[in-house]
Subunit: 198 residues, 2 copies
DNA sequence: ACCTGAACACCGTTCAAGT
DNA sequence: ACCTGAACACCGTTCAAGT
């Protein structure tokens, strides 16, 4: 029933749309990700997209799902704290390579079932590391939110401390322009994990 | 030289624009925060705003600065870990009351000098708690990013664990729809702080 | 000198008309 | 039956014309 006879594959499909959108977001940035731009990339009319998606919001959801599916899975993340940190670092680095992903996830109101394998691995790992039952989900959320924060602050965010104060204490750069984001995240995550497992 | 004689105060000013924008964002949400809407709220023409701000981006920056200025300051945040957690919780709760704030901060590429007093207090507190020199900024960043993550996940984000797996381990809700966000953040922050001070 | 209506170049989305 | 050009209702921004 899925096979329409004689139907040449249509120019547009959900898959081709997502692929094109992903490509545009990666190379031209999220602000270039317009319905018209996607249609143009596929050689179709701007109105044609609406045969396959209901609106732009759904396009963003599909993109988020596509990213979530590709999150890593490590069944042995619970073997050591170090391995748990590495697990999340992999996820962080993957998402950092697609800066639009965290933005969509944070802005959207999605429940990403596609991230379930990643989450399940993390949860089982945390359990193996000694995080008993009810705390597990809380710990997972803490790690997830912290990762999200680091990803969204990939913009230079942060603030510099003013130098108008008595002691010259806050002269350091509080924003992470120069530091290696990934290492910074791993450092913080290791501390968080340690604090949760105490 | 600042006083133009006979100049009745102009209808629009940077202050009135920011105030109106803040009001709109709070009551109608960020998507309603258009240049036209702000002008309308102030009873001016849509083009008139551009006499006071250079573009919409600057309006968002002014909004972010306005929020940053109102971040709490507690010179005694370093008296105890508990007080440090309370300090950040206050900041979190304040920002949570203006959901657009975290969004602007995350999206923008600002360096918010207005947050310097907040940051300086936190840094001095961390130092008092025993976080020696170079680690301080890193720790501050970790806390800030974690806070940002929790704020941006105020949307129902998160993901539910699928129930298709062997043991029924991940049945908990991994998204924080029901839980008290503030308490959740405080819990995580306390762990993070503990891990950093070990 | 200051303000702003109208216009411009974009959006997302719809729908009637094309094939 | 499927596709889509043209139109519609919005944006942010500019600029010439108004006072």
């Amino acid at each position: 029933m899925n096979t329409k006879r004689r139907g040449r594959p249509p120019l547009l499909s959900r898959e081709s749309i997502v692929a094109a959108a992903r490509q545009i977001a990666d190379t031209e940035g999220m602000e270039a990700l317009t319905v018209r731009r996607v249609a143009q990339a596929l050689g179709g009319g701007q109105a044609s997209l609406y045969r396959h998606i209901s609106d732009r919001g759904e396009l963003l959801l599909l993109l988020a799902q596509d990213v979530a599916i590709h999150l890593p899975v490590d069944e042995r993340a619970g073997e050591s704290r170090q391995r748990m940190v590495a697990y999340w670092s992999t996820a962080h680095d993957y998402l950092a390579r697609h800066p639009w992903a965290a933005r969509i996830i944070a802005d959207g109101e999605y429940v990403l079932d596609e991230a379930a394998p990643f989450a399940a691995s993390a949860m089982r790992g945390l359990e193996a590391l000694g995080l008993e039952r009810p705390e597990g989900a809380r710990a997972y959320r803490a790690m997830w939110n912290m990762m999200l924060g680091y990803l969204l602050n990939a913009h230079p965010v942060g603030h510099t401390v003013g130098h108008g104060h008595a002691s010259p204490p806050g002269e350091e750069e509080l924003h992470g322009r120069e530091v290696d984001r990934g290492a910074d995240f791993a450092w913080a995550l290791e501390r968080l994990l340690h604090g949760m497992l105490r």
